[in-house]
């Protein structure tokens, strides 16, 4: 007895305590490293978003000059029967609206200031008059975009000659940055003061419609086949390998495919949403198949057995019972795949969807560009105004992606069942 007791040495020797302390310190360090790794990623994300937001706020604004225009001296006539906006603008141009603006601008801002009113400013006035003819009577105050040079000078950059003028006009209250919601309604332009995002956004929408119309049915049907009917053989293995691999092929390869195949078949539809949508559909389809298979797999076999037991055919089992139950999961996967396609640029770059499109596309075969491509094209421009416009376009794109992902999460939480 006493022998055994003597053999038990105290465990918590000083050396042990020191080792333990060291091990616990290592533990704390390790945990801190883990936390800081995540916090680093989050910090980068926040930094990225804040940078874009800070720059982007400027993109939703436009530097404008205050120009009071007195129409009483030179009355403009608007024929009541002219309804089309384009006709009204043309008629106003013929009546010398351009000169009226020039004269009034010179009176209010001086010669130097008037020279810095954007050369397309009269068109904005004409469009406003077309929308509201009562504007063409008496004295009105218009805020008109400046030239790109003065806008840069107002922001404190650019040529030194314009900066004093900008300061002087700003002090008089005739020069200011105003909210520019027109950014969301206009299309691309060479002048950042006049550029807008709607053309690219509409191109994106048209492209996404094509992508969805092709990728969703094909993806869902392929998922149903693989999960419900495919026999287990080498052929099915090949199918699975090729779908899994397609999901991981770099997107630029799909661009090469689109260039070599789609543009070879339809050479006249270069830079059309149709071709872009088809290319993106091939890229999105594997994502939908994989998500769809997981959703179908999650439907319990008892549902199938029950349906079969009451006499449903295999096709009825799948289309009347399995598919409706798997649909929320499939839709979630589809939305995530579509969000990826919406942000994709590289394949579209290769098939030539980088045209300068100054009016929104009217159909699936018109020349178009897409939102990420517009960002890429603008990012190449050196004008300061385009830097802000680019960030603003990025904000628009991120908002759309956020909405889509939010919808996917909502669908998942609202409809997905745990069996």
């Amino acid at each position: 007895m006493s022998d055994a007791a003597a053999n038990i040495r105290p465990t918590r020797t000083p050396a042990f305590e020191a080792r333990l302390k060291k091990r616990y310190a290592a533990e704390r360090r390790f945990k801190a490293i883990g936390l800081s790794a995540i916090l680093f990623s989050v910090a980068v994300l926040v930094f990225l978003l804040v940078t874009m937001a800070m720059n982007g706020i400027g993109g939703f604004q436009r530097t404008e000059l205050r120009v009071p225009v007195d129409f009483s001296a030179t009355p403009l006539t608007l024929t009541a029967d002219v309804q089309d906006e384009r006709d009204v603008v043309q008629s106003l141009e013929r009546q010398g609206l351009r000169d009226i603006i020039d004269v009034n601008a010179s009176a209010a801002l001086g010669e130097e200031g008037a020279a810095q009113v954007n050369s397309e400013a009269w068109r904005i006035v004409a469009q406003q008059i077309a929308a509201d003819p009562s504007l063409a009577r008496g004295e009105q105050v218009f805020w008109l975009p400046t030239s790109e040079g003065l806008a840069t000078a107002y922001a404190g950059d650019g040529s030194a000659d314009l900066q004093p003028l900008a300061r002087q006009l700003a002090d008089e209250g005739a020069l200011a940055d105003n909210l520019d919601l027109g950014f969301l309604e206009r299309s691309d332009a060479t002048d950042p003061q006049l550029a807008g995002i709607w053309g690219a956004l509409k191109g994106s929408i048209l492209t996404m419609i094509v992508t969805l119309a092709l990728a969703f049915p094909i993806g869902v049907l392929a998922a149903l086949y693989l999960e419900e009917y495919a026999p287990k053989n080498r052929w099915t293995d090949l199918l699975e390998v090729s779908i899994n691999n397609l999901a991981a092929v770099p997107s630029i390869i799909f661009g090469l495919l689109g260039l070599a195949v789609f543009l070879w078949i339809f050479p006249s539809y270069r830079s059309a949403p149709l071709i872009g949508g088809m290319t993106l559909a091939l890229m999105t389809m594997p994502v939908i198949v994989i998500a769809g298979r997981n959703a179908i797999k999650a439907v319990p076999p008892s549902i199938r057995d029950g349906a079969l037991a009451v006499g449903a055919s295999p096709v009825q089992v799948v289309f009347h019972h399995v598919l409706p139950l798997a649909l929320p999961g499939i839709l979630t996967g589809t939305i995530i795949g579509m969000a990826r396609a919406l942000g994709e640029t590289a394949p579209l770059l290769l098939i030539g969807m980088r045209a300068f499109v100054s009016s929104p596309p009217q159909g699936f075969t018109d020349n178009a560009t897409v939102l990420p491509m517009q960002i890429f094209l603008w990012s190449d421009e050196i004008d300061r105004g385009f830097v802000e416009r680019t960030s603003a376009a990025i904000i628009v794109l991120l908002v759309f992606l956020l909405l889509m992902n939010g919808l996917a999460i909502y669908l998942r939480n609202r409809f997905e069942k745990k069996w």
């Binding site: 874009m52 049915p217 392929a222 991981a248 630029i252 390869i253 799909f254 994709e344 590289a346 990012s379």
Partner: protein
């Protein structure tokens, strides 16, 4: 007659067939003694509709391909086309312009010579539109009549329709295989043409890359197509720099999320991390070019580095690494979570601390999955295009200095395909050859990674 109206017409005819067949089947049912027929009326309806819609759509698809060429042929045969320039861009653009006016896509011609072509285009378009429409209607009628004549009380429309559905499913799943084949075929075809001009040995082992897009395909200088600097740049940016960022950060994030974070923290942090993967690459590219690259240049200058590039490999690589973090972390997270709890409990019971357990038990056990995740991440990084297009450089350089400008395979694919070069020039074909190399490498990485994941899963499940 646009394609969409044609499709609407076909669908309308299909609907009519559907309704007619359904009412006919319902009539059979009323007439039969026990009010039973072999298939429900709705299957008769679908049978008829399929017979109308499928052949007509197939024809319309075929026709949209053929008619374009037929129209072009007729226009080129017209006297007005004799004045066209023989070849080249101008001819193409004039034809396209006249076509746009004739279809009403453009308000008027820009080029006076194209005006003469509008009329022949209009004639040809009308003619082939009418032919197409008539044939479509005939096919729809024939299909509908054939289906309608077969409807009988004992006709098993049900099995026919279901067989069609199953065939459709099979065809849909074949699209994936076809896409893979299409990718391989288009890449292989152009690559072989390229290797007819530049030998594969020069391409794969040469160290000088400066393709000249202006030379035609007949006689390229093989010394200009050595792709080694491209492979090196891709490897250096996508594998060395990006992985130096992504692997440690991704691994540690996964370990923290999986082992330390409280469930509530985890539900917030994990999606936040995944947002990083959802940000479009063009945004990362812009961020790299506008914010990171100048910052790196300034830091390098202040450290006394002479002439750091403003398009440094470091900027592109760092941003790419950040983008890859969520891929590494989610794969690592899954693999660590798949390690049986018993292994972890065993280690903890022996008195190991949490981090000792993680380092000595969990990570080694999860290693195959983690390695597979890293391989997928590498495949993603070397195929990444927009970040390098916007932040890396066009100059091909063999250098191990991260502050120097470097180019990558994807950058050169984009550069050589978006320039002025014609489709047959060596620089265009070189882009396809680069694409083929990229495809093969990523394919290998993906297949090995997927195999590892599969085997790994089988071990623990």
């Amino acid at each position: 007659m646009s394609a969409s109206t044609l499709i609407l017409l076909v669908l309308g005819l299909g609907l009519a067939g559907w309704l007619v067949a359904r009412s006919r089947a319902a009539m059979f049912r009323r007439a039969s003694e026990n009010r039973r027929i072999a298939s429900l009326p709705v299957y008769h309806a679908w049978y008829a509709a399929l017979w109308i819609v499928v052949p007509t759509l197939l024809f319309a698809l075929l026709w949209s391909g053929i008619s374009e060429q037929l129209v072009m042929q007729q226009v080129l045969a017209s006297p007005a086309a004799a004045d066209l320039p023989e070849f080249g861009m101008q001819r193409e653009s004039m034809l396209a312009e006249a076509r746009a006016v004739a279809t009403g896509a453009a308000p008027g011609v820009f080029n006076a010579e194209a005006a003469a072509l509008v009329e022949p285009f209009e004639q040809a378009l009308t003619r082939y539109n009418i032919i197409g429409l008539v044939v479509t209607l005939l096919i729809a009628l024939a299909g509908g009549a054939w289906a309608f004549l077969r409807l009988k009380p004992d006709f098993r429309a049900h099995t026919r329709v279901e067989r069609t559905v199953l065939t459709t499913l099979l065809i849909a799943s074949l699209v994936a295989v076809l896409t893979t084949l299409g990718i391989v075929a288009s890449l292989v075809f152009e690559t072989i043409r390229f290797f007819g001009m530049v030998s594969p040995i020069d391409f794969l082992l040469g160290t000088h890359w400066s393709p000249n897009p202006m030379t035609d395909g007949s006689n390229p200088d093989p010394d200009r197509y050595g792709a080694v600097p491209l492979f090196w740049g891709t490897f250096f940016i996508g594998v060395v720099i990006a992985m130096l960022v992504a692997i440690p950060l991704g691994m540690m994030s996964a370990i923290y999320l999986n082992q330390y974070a409280a469930p509530r923290v985890r539900t917030w942090l994990k999606p936040t991390l995944e947002i990083l993967a959802g940000v479009p690459t063009v945004v990362y590219g812009y961020f790299a070019a506008l914010t990171i690259a100048p910052a790196i240049r300034d830091i390098a200058l202040s450290l006394g580095v002479a002439n750091p590039s403003s398009e440094s490999a470091l900027a592109a690589g760092l941003v790419m690494g950040v983008m890859i973090i969520p891929f590494v972390s989610s794969m690592a997270d899954d693999s660590i979570a798949a390690v049986p709890q018993a292994m972890k409990d065993g280690s903890l019971a022996m008195g190991a601390t949490q981090n000792e357990t993680i380092k000595r038990v969990l990570v080694p056990a999860a290693l195959p999955g983690i390695v597979a995740g890293i391989m997928l991440a590498i495949s993603r990084a070397i195929g990444e295009t927009m970040i390098v297009v916007m932040a890396a450089s066009a100059t091909a350089r063999l250098s191990a200095n991260p502050l120097e400008a470097m180019t990558t395979v994807t950058y050169q694919i984009v550069a050589n395909l978006t320039g002025e070069a014609s489709m047959d020039s060596a620089s265009t074909l070189a882009a396809f050859a680069l694409g083929f190399v990229l495809f093969l490498v990523t394919l290998m990485l993906n297949i090995i990674a997927l195999r590892i994941v599969k085997r790994f899963r089988e071990v623990y499940e």
